[in-house]
């Protein structure tokens, strides 16, 4: 990957340029110290001089209002205009060296000038979002103004002030003795990061929380940036290094010391790359920190860097007044035997490793995004989308992007999802728009690769305001279940749906803030109604990165530096004790720090190390074969396969899946091979039960211990005593007495057991439960009668009878 820079000969300021910014994907605005605002259209190579500022106005920083929030009223109390879509934004703020900031609209008119301070306003940033609209407050966007004050006494101080979008001062957030050169917002708008001298400081907006500050560089820090997608921080300073940090201040990468100070830094909005500007140098770096490519324009220091919203173009403002526009080229994606390389901004080269043939796709417009998977290549250009079938590249299906700048493609087997960061839309591979699910609270940049997932029939989206919750839609855009959010206890960081299996067995894997990996059942309705607790089970702790297989319900993840593959994550709902046995682990020292899984195709796993190197790992093919056979209900053949391999984990796999598929023969066989005698015994016992409901109930208890479901089965089969005894066994006293209200003939049994329990274990405590106190008045306990009743109704050797 590298940046290809062009310096348009017409776009030249006479003085240095600090401010560059993209209005839309095609229109670039630049403001130089020669007081001129230029607008440059990349497609038509057209330069328009928008406006000329006053001679005393030296611009130091500019920032466009993030898209998705448009000015409706002039005076602050504006609201989100729901259905209205605009291309790009139409207002930016300009910070000037005399301590003012101006709102400038896209026609170059200065709408408002605010006197901020006596010193220079070095840095200005819109908050990435402010949709407090949903929670009932006024919809207020914040601006941050940073002031470097030069008082007459000779000392300098830095200040961070927060302003409402109307230009009213809201608060003085930070007052520091050192100048503050750069400031940025957190993704959730609840904190800001600024650099003070050699320190990076993360200051929460709420006054009571503690700020986090750490020494980041050996010299003063000039620039920092915080990405909203991957939540990583980059910083660069006069020690000529740039560093990558995570959100709690751990250093992930530190570059070598270069020759000149870092004068500018910018994250690509999608968080995959960032650019670093220095004297006569621009570097394109991976999010892990290492450098993709270096450009050496001879234009002095790079003072302004700005990425377009689709993360494919970058503009740089240079010390000589020239403005460069860079495109990312030589991006590559690969899928099985095909490799696609973007050789120029409009040319894709395909190389097929099987036939060693090469092909080319020429696009009409600039490529924005491409993605390959499930046999289809999806190419988004600035005007339209194209879908190529990997088998024959000839005729792509075309579809219109409806004037939205899409920044995300997620593919599933039959559909794919496009998102512009706010809304999502589902397309089929014929290019037909299938649906556009309506999210509960759309928020800019809330939809990214970590917060949305799609499978053949389900879409999962993390809610943008309540980050602990997930919203599920079916493929036609209708909410699944009762349309409510499914909540987890902690913030969800990454989620992914499995790609295969029946819609009713759809599972979501997600990692929360504490890096625990959970499995959640998506559809849990009807008879298998479960509480949220039962729908979510923990699979693993300390997970780094995880990914589902494309063909089988396998899940791979990196935990504790080891690569683990869960062949059948559903096992957590059936028999958690077998989780360990159905897991395959690969230990290797090669993975290094922070590896991530970039692909999991059939039995091959591609791991990207933090330094960008790709490692291929292979799991034995027979697991895949076995899963294929089992999914085709051919457990017999799967067992035959096992005889050759004689591996415990594959037997465990068969046992669990057969149990889930109600295939008792194979399950029994496999459990016997695992020498899991109690399971064999249970299964044999299960077969002797004649009544269907009873068997179902027993099975529900065996496979997953689901008491509600078992109770449902018992009641359905008109066996209330079984249900009551089940609850007594579980010491579920309240439910047991509740059940007796409909079946009063069993009150005696419940009360009897309760008294016995209190006597044996409670040290003859007094009864305090109101329901039991009331029941005790009406019945007197006769153990002979109870025994007789139990024997009669449950049978001689039922497991539900409580034997002394």
């Amino acid at each position: 990957m590298r940046l290809k820079f062009t310096f348009p000969p017409t776009l030249r300021h006479t003085e240095r340029v600090d401010c560059v910014g993209w209005m839309s994907a095609d229109d670039l605005y630049s403001v130089g110290e020669d007081h001129i605002i230029y607008k440059y259209n990349v497609v038509q190579n057209e330069l328009i001089k928008i406006a000329e500022l006053g001679q005393d106005l030296y611009p130091l920083d500019m920032h466009w209002l993030p898209k998705g929030a448009n000015v409706v009223g002039g005076q602050g109390s504006s609201s989100v205009s729901g259905g209205k879509r605009t291309i790009g934004s139409d207002l930016f703020v300009l910070a000037t060296s005399d301590g003012k900031f101006c709102f400038v609209n896209k026609t170059g008119r200065i709408e408002k000038t605010v006197e901020a301070h006596r010193g220079a306003t070095i840095c200005i940033r819109w908050s990435p979002d402010g949709s407090q609209f949903a929670t009932g407050y006024f919809y207020i966007r914040f601006t941050i103004i940073l002031i470097l004050d030069n008082s007459s006494l000779g000392g300098e101080d830095g200040q961070i002030r927060i302003w409402a979008r109307s230009g009213m001062l809201r608060s003085n957030l930070v007052q520091s003795a050192t100048p503050i050169f750069c400031v940025c917002w957190s993704a959730e708008n609840d904190a800001i990061l600024y650099c003070a001298g050699k320190h990076l400081v993360m200051k929460p907006l709420s006054p009571n929380s503690k700020q986090n500050s750490w020494k980041a560089h050996d010299q003063i820090i000039l620039k920092c940036d915080w990405n909203t997608v991957n939540n990583l921080i980059i910083s660069g300073g006069e020690d000529c290094r740039y560093k990558v940090w995570d959100a709690v201040g751990r250093q992930l990468y530190a570059s070598q010391a270069f020759e000149y100070p870092i004068t500018s830094l910018a994250w690509a909005p999608d968080g995959s790359n960032f650019a670093v500007g220095s004297y006569n140098t621009i570097r394109l770096c991976d999010s892990a920190g290492w450098c993709h490519s270096v450009e050496k324009p001879k234009d002095g220091s790079i003072f302004g860097l700005s990425w377009s919203n689709d993360s494919t173009q970058i503009a740089c403002g240079c010390g000589t007044g020239r403005v460069g526009i860079g495109h990312i080229i030589e991006r590559r994606v690969d899928w099985r035997h095909l490799e696609f390389i973007l050789t120029d901004s409009k040319l894709i080269t395909i190389s097929n490793c099987e036939t060693e043939l090469k092909d080319k796709i020429e696009l009409k417009d600039r490529l924005v995004k491409m993605s390959v998977g499930f046999g289809y290549l999806i190419v988004l250009t600035s005007n339209q989308g194209l879908i190529y079938n990997c088998k024959h590249m000839g005729h792509p299906a075309l579809f219109d992007l409806r004037d939205m700048s899409m920044s995300l493609i997620v593919q599933a087997e039959k559909h794919f999802l496009l998102s512009d960061g706010i809304n999502i839309s589902i397309y089929s591979y014929e290019g037909r728009l299938v649906s556009a699910p309506k999210l509960m609270s759309p928020k800019p940049d809330s939809v990214n690769i970590n917060t949305v997932s799609i499978s053949t029939d389900t879409i999962a989206v993390r809610d943008s305001t309540d980050t602990k919750s997930v919203m599920f839609f079916d493929i036609n855009g209708k909410p699944i279940g009762d349309g409510k959010l499914v909540s987890h206890a902690y913030e969800i960081i990454h989620l992914a749906l499995d790609q295969t299996g029946l819609p009713n067995e759809r599972k979501l894997a997600f990692a929360d803030k504490f890096q625990d990996l959970f499995i959640m059942q998506v559809r849990a309705t009807g008879q298998t109604q479960r509480s949220t607790n039962q729908r979510i089970r923990k699979l693993c702790t300390n997970i780094g990165s995880f990914r589902w297989n494309d063909k089988n319900p396998m899940l791979s993840g990196i935990a504790d530096g080891k690569l683990s593959i869960w062949f059948y994550p559903n096992v957590v709902f059936i028999d958690p004790s077998l989780v360990d046995k159905t897991t395959y682990r690969i230990e290797s020292n090669d993975f290094g720090k922070n590896p991530s899984i970039s692909d999991f195709l059939s039995s091959q796993i591609t791991i990207r190390k933090s330094n960008g190197a790709l490692i291929q790992c292979v799991i034995p093919i027979y697991y895949e074969l076995c899963l294929d056979l089992l999914s085709a209900n051919r457990a017999e053949e799967a067992l035959q396969l096992c005889q050759y391999i004689a591996d415990d984990s594959i037997y465990a796999l068969i046992a669990v899946i057969s149990l889930f598929n109600r295939d008792f023969d194979s399950a029994e066989n496999a459990f016997a091979q695992l020498s899991n005698t109690e399971m064999v015994f249970c299964l044999q016992n299960l077969r002797t039960i004649s009544s269907k409901e009873e068997r179902e109930a027993e099975l529900a208890l065996l496979a997953g211990g689901n008491i509600n479901e078992a109770e449902g089965h018992y009641l359905q089969g008109n066996k209330p005593l079984h249900a009551i005894m089940l609850h007594l066994n579980e010491h579920n006293w309240d439910r047991a007495i509740d059940l007796t209200q409909r079946h009063p003939q069993y009150v005696e049994i419940v009360v009897g057991y309760r008294q016995k329990y209190l006597k044996d274990y409670g040290g003859s405590k007094k009864e305090t439960n109101q329901k039991y106190l009331q029941a005790m008045k009406n019945v007197d306990v006769d153990w002979d009668r109870i025994d007789a009743k139990l024997k009669k109704e449950l049978g001689e050797d039922s497991a539900l009878r409580i034997v002394e």
Partner: protein, 339 residues
């Protein structure tokens, strides 16, 4: 406005490749050493031979230094500096330094821009010329080759001119006499007449040849007619052996069909015979196999019986028994072989 000033100073120093990096923080506190260092360097840039005081430790030394520097700058660069501000060595000094450094920076930038523009111009004109000339280049090459060819020809001809000139001169210089001319003409006339007579004779000969050839052709025609007549006559006569020939032809046909029939029958019979032999052979094999099987079963039966007998005899020692068994087995094998 210090932020902008310092930032500019840093950038200009980098562009002018000042030997060290200047930090944004350097002038937060008064920093006379750095001011002195930068000023010394700048003065040297304007005038490498300028004499700048090196001692800046004492208060008096610093004043002398500032004064010396401002004087040099004033004379060399025609710039007036504020000595007080420079002496403060803080943000205000930066403004003064900028005054000095900006002309240098501008000059460098201008030359660079000019070079860049020139490069662009050259590039453009060159590219334009290229496009234009590529079409004419071919024709130019062709013209070149023709020019050399023509030149060579010309040269050759001019070489002959030396000889030709002499002959021409001679002829031009010779005097003409009337009688000689007359004589010559007359000679030419007689020669022409002789020629005329010779050609007339030849024409006469041709006519006689023509007559002779006509006669010959008539003779040939006559001969041909005669031969034709004879051929017709011969064709009309039927030869005597023809009757016999036809008779034998029919006879031969009959014989051939007879032969084919017989050959077919023969080959069929041969095949039948072969099949018969084969079935015979198989029958024999079958019988022998059955026989072998019955024999085998008999033998195993006998073995079984013997084995049972031995089992019933518990007094035998194990070692001995096994030896015997082995012997027995060997014998049996031999028996089988014989059978």
């Amino acid at each position: 406005m210090t932020y902008r000033d310092i930032s500019h100073l840093c950038e200009m120093a980098r562009v002018l490749s000042y030997p060290r990096l200047i930090s944004m923080e350097n002038f937060r506190q008064p920093n006379f050493r750095l001011v002195a260092e930068i000023m010394t360097w700048l003065v040297k840039q304007y005038d490498p031979l300028a004499d700048v005081p090196t001692d800046i430790e004492g208060e008096q030394d610093r004043v002398i230094f500032i004064r010396a520097v401002t004087q040099i700058i004033a004379t060399r660069a025609h710039l007036k500096l504020n000595t007080k501000k420079l002496y403060q060595a803080d943000g205000y000094a930066v403004k003064e330094i900028l005054k000095v450094i900006t002309p240098l920076y501008k000059a460098l930038r201008d030359t660079e821009n000019k070079e860049l523009d020139d490069e662009d111009d050259i590039d453009n004109s060159y590219r334009y010329a290229m496009n234009d000339d590529i079409s004419t280049l071919k024709s130019a090459r062709q013209l070149c080759s023709t020019i050399t060819q023509k030149g060579a020809n010309l040269h050759e001809l001019l070489g002959k001119e030396l000889d030709a000139r002499e002959a021409r001169q001679e002829v031009m210089n010779r005097g003409m006499e009337l009688s000689e001319v007359k004589e010559g003409i007359r000679e030419a006339e007689t020669a022409a007449k002789r020629e005329l007579i010779k050609y007339q004779k030849l024409i006469g000969n041709v006519q006689t040849d023509e007559v002779a050839l006509d006669e010959k052709i008539a003779k040939r025609f006559e001969e041909k007619d005669r031969h034709q007549r004879r051929l017709d006559m011969l064709k009309s006569v039927r030869p005597s052996f023809m009757n016999d020939f036809e008779k034998y032809e029919i006879e031969l046909n009959e014989l051939y069909s007879n032969y084919v029939l017989k050959f077919r029958i023969l080959s069929y019979l041969e095949k039948e015979l072969e099949g018969h032999f084969r079935s015979q052979r198989e029958k024999v094999q079958e019988v022998s196999r059955q026989y072998m099987q019955s024999m085998n079963s008999q033998i195993t039966e006998q073995d079984q019986q013997r084995f049972n007998r031995q089992l019933q005899d518990p007094n035998d020692e194990i070692g001995v028994r096994s030896d015997e068994e082995e012997d027995d087995e060997e014998e049996e094998e031999e028996d089988e072989d014989e059978q």
